[in-house]
Symmetry: C2
Subunit: 453 residues, 2 copies
Amino acid sequence: MSVIPNSADYVRLIRSGDTRLMTRALARLDDVQIAALIDPLEAREQDSILHLLAIERRSEVLASMRYEVAAQVIGRLAPEEAARLLGNLESDDVADILGQIDKEQLRPILARLDDADAKELEELLAYPEDSAGGIMSLDVARIHEDVTIAEATRMLQQESEKLPGSVFYIYVVDEQERLVGVVSLRKLVISKPDQPIHAIMETELVYVSVETHQEKVAELASRYDLVAIPVVDDQRRLLGAVTIDDIVDVLREEATEDILKMAGAGGELVGTRGFRASFRARMPWLLTSACGGLVVAVSLKGFEESLSVVPALALFMPVVAGMGGNVGTQSSTIMVRGLAVGFVETSRFGSLVLREVGLGATMGVIYGAGIALLAPLVGATSRDPLGLGLVIMFGMIGSMMIAATVGAAVPLLLHRLSIDPAVATGPFVTTSVDILGLLFYFWLATMLLQVPL
Amino acid sequence: MSVIPNSADYVRLIRSGDTRLMTRALARLDDVQIAALIDPLEAREQDSILHLLAIERRSEVLASMRYEVAAQVIGRLAPEEAARLLGNLESDDVADILGQIDKEQLRPILARLDDADAKELEELLAYPEDSAGGIMSLDVARIHEDVTIAEATRMLQQESEKLPGSVFYIYVVDEQERLVGVVSLRKLVISKPDQPIHAIMETELVYVSVETHQEKVAELASRYDLVAIPVVDDQRRLLGAVTIDDIVDVLREEATEDILKMAGAGGELVGTRGFRASFRARMPWLLTSACGGLVVAVSLKGFEESLSVVPALALFMPVVAGMGGNVGTQSSTIMVRGLAVGFVETSRFGSLVLREVGLGATMGVIYGAGIALLAPLVGATSRDPLGLGLVIMFGMIGSMMIAATVGAAVPLLLHRLSIDPAVATGPFVTTSVDILGLLFYFWLATMLLQVPL
């Protein structure tokens, strides 16, 4: 059974600095295992392990690493060395890695690559990083529609050196290089060799334009169960194909991006590894919360008198805000992920939000009543215990209803406005619940308790 | 260019109830487009659209739907009808769908399927839903090691009816049906037909045991860039293969699970669609927060006197707790996702947590000082404005450091204990920050301000 090795033992070995033992241990692992092992390590350790490997192997390991991490490794090398390592890899892998590197670092590396390689790469890197063009491979098996299956097989044999390891489809083009059909290798193998290729090709094509966003490409591939999607220009001329390994990377990357964005923790995991990079990624998102906190302070200022008369009100502020915050996070998370996966039907805005509000109210009644009943037991004293209980209960119901509304409505609205609904939904929702929920709670207090405004 | 159709127009059409127009619109869409269209709709609408389709097409659309949703559709049908629809599909698709259905509903459907199909399905359904066995397909191309390439090709041609549409590898077995090698179709096409298969087969095999967790299977496939992974029993006998479409589903499902779990919103998105199901999924996770809220109320009880003397302290409770909560969410999100993707090296517990604490402290100093300086401007009054400022500043620093520590340490500890680190990290982190952060804030107040304890 294949396994990604448990890193702990190796990490201990690396830190011991015993290079002879380490080299022997590395010889027992394959390229992918080494890549998985060094992905999460610190820069210094990554470099020292890579240096124990022969140059060809180093390239292979690099290609198997998460490309965001591989880009950091490449960024630490001299341009000559970087070009030497990248020269052994396939163009789309190199483009993935170099797409993560600064422009100033890129130029000297490109200058040291093969002219043909560099030209291909510049072509790929010209497309936006998150478009079909940015992730496609240029090495596709293409064949003209009038050849026979036997000829097609012969051509595949001749070009086998040039083609990447993972060819599963042959794309059929006309004289203008326009995509007209696709033949799976399976179909090629099981068909009679003397037929023309157009007799067996599939003409109901799934393809994307070079500008298509990678998220759409991944959605199509997963919906149509394809292991590669052809990429065409505006004349439908075949440019390349996005293969399943890149699609899997996209799915992982987009899920990570959504998760981090919702928490206001940047968009890329690898960007949060260094102290300074993490600081830059996270610092700005706390601003919402900080400003919100000041707004809360100002808003509650008017209730200072109530607080000094019934200080017990303050004791239940955290539970009112906290329960609201959690309900809001639940609602917004379900909406954001539902939108990403295609489980949420956006034209149903009203009924989706209403359902959430209903849920917020139901859970609010249950927890609100529970907490209110327990309030006297935990020692919350007031001259008007019934009033305080009602304020706590209805305060929680209100806060949880507000939270559910904001949590559900904000992602749906952002999606309608074609803004990524994941953007810092978390901090935004908790902050607005703090403001609105607590204001409602204190307003209730002035209404239901005999306290001055 | 291929697109998943925009649902809004169709949804309007569906709701208008004009079946003639709807039938015409559906004729213009392919199976996958219809599936994507109806996935997010309500039960009633899904059923009415499926009923407009011919029975064969209905099966195809069902196979293209998210299988969690397809299971709900099947669950609403009579067993005869369900069996008729499922009878046209491949065994692993059927197993995916039926794996989501209750045992009581399952039996009558299985009883109405083909004997051979039912036997295969019972075999597949016997494996845990989230194991390699639970997601594998039984239809694999298998060949004995002593046949020639020409013979292998002929066998493929003869069995082409039985094999699924997406065969990319041929698995080579010995007389005991033990897996000994793999040949890609590409290799088969480009090799000379008179060679024996063992001359061209790859013997460095990546395979999984039938018990392997689906998350591990997906990790291996994505690390090794494979479009299918063979599944073996404990004798290494070939049982089936997990194909890339299922691996893509697993990646999506696991990301969804992590996101929802962190927010304390259940584990399955489709489970949160109905009101009652959503209530059951979300209600229990709020208990942490509710109990935490009571603990906060009890803990702060001792500071009631301080509050009545300096009610301004209450105004800044939300920002102290809120900023802490957000920092904690950032830290825990980065750890949970980093662990899932393999970016976090767990043996480095101490340094990872220390880094987070440092980040929390740095961001705490900046925002704490900022809020403290603005405090007098927003009208926070106290007999000791300097003291209040210091309490706010150090309170925020403390709360943010506590949050970063809890947020980073909890997921790492859970991972070490082999507990899924995503489990309700969100509610847990915000609640403990509420308790610890606010206690620290009020303790500071009693130390730095002239207030009674």
